[in-house]
Symmetry: C2
Subunit: 213 residues, 2 copies
């Protein structure tokens, strides 16, 4: 019915620990057509991660090659160590097919996507209800050293400082509410006059009206 | 939680018979805080309608007085007969208090609201899935002569020709789906960076981060 014409690249950013993954999973449960974009990374796979599913695991030289040849829509070096990036081609193919893709990246990646895709990308910032809540969530993971947590908090600060760049802000206090807001953003974006194929609908309705006379 | 700072005037237009009222009622059931703006009209009350609830019923001279003194945010003469209008003051008060108001008006009214309130108004066009469906719904009412139906269809054509002016298009094929889309539009608009009080959130989070160090 609502032929959205062009797909949507839903970019979701926010401090690590804020619950981006949980909110995105909630969205995808409601809308099974929405798919998560798989990033490339040079970091080694963690236990349970599989290549092509969680990430596309590549070597430093493979990554460097992709970057140089302009195959990456965005990329970043995280905490001065590993590289992460998004291949341009699968994103462009999905959008051309009218699909909705979700991309979980940081503010530098979001900025790069906005520069290259303009309004076809929808930028959502997921914010914590408080700094304390963010720290608690990071500590609850029990997987990281205090040093790693301090690094994540420094990045979190930078993310928060760049909130203004986004199209929407969702506060993840209650997960269900945040999921509902993210779903609302997706539904609304599909119905915007820029994306909705209003010319076709208008012309069809007017042709039917003429035929009926 | 999400302090929207400024209220939203949700303008809903579309051909008569498209089901605007049904979709708006569905929205208000989900969000009891959303209120319908009560229009003024010079047409006589129909059976069951009460003054101040359905409309504010006024005389021709009262309406003319309101219009001349600039008290109306928008007004229209419908089918060359009765006048309809929206008082500016209650709308401005509701928006200043951060409330969401729904206004069901035609494209001329929507245009006038956009000119006066800019992006604080969100314009939604409710379209029928087909011209035939629209005719069927108008005939089902059994309340109107063929002459009245013909007038409504002529207006419907004009409405459809002006679809481009709106921010969003919702096709009312399945009511539940249309209600969900309208709810999504409202949720999304409350989280836009323009309406969301991101400066306050950012400053609070950064102050908390500084205090924690």
């Amino acid at each position: 019915m609502a032929d959205s014409g062009r797909g949507i690249l839903l970019v979701v950013s926010g401090p690590s620990g804020v619950g981006k993954g949980t909110v995105i999973n909630g969205l995808m449960e409601q809308y099974p057509d929405v798919t998560l974009s798989v990033s490339c990374t040079t970091r080694p796979p963690r236990a349970g991660e599989s290549d092509g599913q969680d990430y596309q695991f590549v070597s430093d030289s493979e990554f460097e090659q992709m970057r140089r040849s302009g195959e990456l829509l965005e990329w970043a070096q995280v905490h001065g160590r590993h590289y992460y990036g998004t291949l341009r081609q699968p994103v462009e193919e999905a959008l051309a097919a009218g699909r909705t893709l979700v991309l979980e990246i940081d503010y530098q990646g979001a900025k790069s996507v906005r520069e290259q895709l303009g309004e076809q990308a929808v930028l959502v910032f997921v914010a914590p209800p408080s700094w304390e809540a963010l720290i608690e969530r990071l500590r609850k993971r029990h997987t990281e050293s205090e040093q790693a947590i301090a690094e994540r908090l420094a990045s979190a600060r930078e993310e928060i400082e760049n909130m203004e760049m986004y199209d929407y802000v969702v506060v993840n206090d209650e997960v269900a509410e945040a999921v509902q807001q993210l779903s609302g953003i997706l539904l609304a974006e599909q119905q915007t006059i820029e994306r909705f194929d209003w010319r076709r609908l208008r012309d069809e309705l007017l042709a039917q009206a003429d035929g009926w006379r």
